[in-house]
Amino acid sequence: MKKFIIALIVIVATQTAVAQENKGTFSGGFESNAQWYQDDDAIGVNAPQDQSRSNNYFSLRYSYDKFTAGIQYELFAPNALLGYSPSFTGNAIGTYYLNFKHKGLDITGGHFYDQFGSGLIYRSWEDRQLGIDNSIRGVRINYAFNEYLTATAFTGNQREAFEISEGTVTGLNAELDLSTALDIETGIQIGASYVNRYQQYTGPNLNFPADVGAYSGRADLSFKNFFIGTEYVFKEADAFVLDGLISNTNLQEGRALLINAGYAIKGLGINATFRTLENMTFYSDREAAGNTFLLNTINYVPGYSKQQDYAVSNIYVYAPQTAVVPLEGKAGEIGGQIDLYYTAKKGSTIGGKYGTKFELNYANWSGLDAEFDLANETYEASLFSRGEKYFEEYSIAIKKRFSKNFSTIFTSIHTEYNGDIIEGKDFYLKGNSFIFDGLYKLNKGRSIRMDLQHLSADADRGNWAAATAEYAFSPFLSMYVTDLYNYDVTNIHYYSVGGSYTKGRTRVAVNYGRQRGGLVCVGGVCRFVPENTGLTLNISTNF
């Protein structure tokens, strides 16, 4: 706390002094997510020991000339919200940095966020909803040699709640823009990276590597309306860890291939992603492998499926399976998705007066076809084989405006979900959902939105229905009431009511209700949240 106060005084004093010369700029934000938990017999949950909990983040950033400095102070009072790592407790400065930028040079000391390529080899980022902040504390240097060649080097330890990781992460990256270098129309970018994790090992096994390196190469091409990109990552053999226990009789290599291609013209856009990977978990602490709170993750392996917008379509969401788990027959996964956006022109039969928008998505994921020799703790798997189906989904959304004031979205989804693989529960589910969403705009910024949702499923908890009504009093103030009802098996209503007020830089939201337990996925990365009931208050402001 003392350090924090001193840091703030210094920053504020400097800022005050400099403000008169009007050279510095100052920005920051404050976010507080608080919840008061209740006992709720209907869903069989008791409030946790600390009944009211909150996650608070306060960040300050100050730039002056070529320098930028920032800190983020975090307070988990008295403990973090349910579903977050319990290591987030108390208060401290979470991240701090000093950055210098001049011409092509960009140097950061302290915590930094970055990614190489798609992140398949390395990515550090912050997501407060997921409770992730795997920034690296160390030194990062980025240098642009000229218009087409850029290189990055960094080394440091990864943030692990308020501590840092035991392992040191070092990375090198180079990006070359060939189209600029050769002055050609066709876009060609290539890149290569090396990322190393160094962690001393003092146990009995002499073969145990302290250094584990990963190499990646990638190329992106674009010509006219087409684009295609590919990335390959190879990770050196690392210890085999399951549930925090090292079983190091066999070290294993990992590999991944990502291909992305697309076509876009006005009114039509298509994007296809294919990815296959084997044993691609990469942690800054070998014993953290597979931890549920996503701590110490060096690389980013998101689930590529459509991010669904509604309650019933978010119950069975694919979570990527990157780890090797012999007893479950998992060695990796293979699959992909196709996205299509199409706009039927205004005035055409389908387009009507305002044009009709279509969004289609197809996603399919399976395990690699792996053969495990449990006795010798080895396995064989090909990167281009398909084993058990994990997930499949077809979805279509049609967005249609009927008049200046009335527009609708119709969504239909067919989902196949392997509950055994994704959640470790004994079911394989096929489900169909239909969702109707209507929006009516009144005058003076007032509007009404309603949706009706239904999911019929043949396994697990069966059928669900949901409805939402939302009323905006103005662009600044809105209220909603929603209910997600499992009428088939549990007869539980997950109701919620709330409102939010937004003005300029500040937003305040209040909700009361029941939260369905399960995976909360943001950007293809999932976190488990236990079922709970209570009152939440979210405040955020930026300046």
């Binding site: 703030l8 005050t16 700029t25 970055d114 912050e126 005058n443 300029g504 950007g523 300046f543």
Partner: protein
């Protein structure tokens, strides 16, 4: 609790002094060309919207404005620059989405969320009006009708 109070007091102090501009960095547009953020509002007023393909209200806002974009360009010189904060998972979806929807905006990519962090990690959608490099109006969230408020503000600010 004391700490919280302390933060609030301190925060209100700094708030009064705060002044903001977009960071002086370059982002890539959909053709891979670098665009400097410092140059986008040189001697003019523009709207910058931070959005993502996975954000429903963002898509609503940009779809709604797209319906009347040409008219507003003519009537009040309205110009919108849409900065996508889609990360590496969904950044590949941006171009197909923008083209498929037929949006006429200048679209920039911020896959590492540098701009977003510079602005204090706000929720999206975040809509800014920027005049000669300075952020003069800021609104987050979108409900239907908010676009009219935005056009009014834009007209007022651009006309000053």
């Amino acid at each position: 609790m004391k700490k919280l109070l302390f933060i609030v007091v301190l925060f209100s102090f700094t708030f009064a002094k705060a002044q903001t501009a977009l960071p002086e960095i370059s982002l890539k547009d959909l053709n891979g060309k670098e665009v400097s953020l410092a140059s986008i509002s040189e001697d003019k007023t523009v709207v910058v919207s931070l959005w993502a393909t996975w954000c429903v209200p963002c898509m609503r806002e940009l779809d709604t404005i797209a319906d009347v974009y040409e008219d507003m360009q003519e009537e009040i010189n309205f110009e919108l620059i849409a900065i996508s904060v889609d990360d590496s998972r969904s950044t590949r979806r941006v171009k197909p989405a923008v083209m498929g929807k037929g949006w006429e905006y200048t679209v920039l990519l911020d896959p590492n969320n540098d701009v977003r962090r510079h602005l204090g990690n706000p929720n999206v959608p975040l809509t800014l009006i920027i005049k000669n490099g300075a952020i003069v109006y800021r609104h987050s969230s979108f409900t239907p009708g908010a676009e009219d408020e935005l056009f009014d503000k834009f007209k007022e600010i651009a006309g000053e």
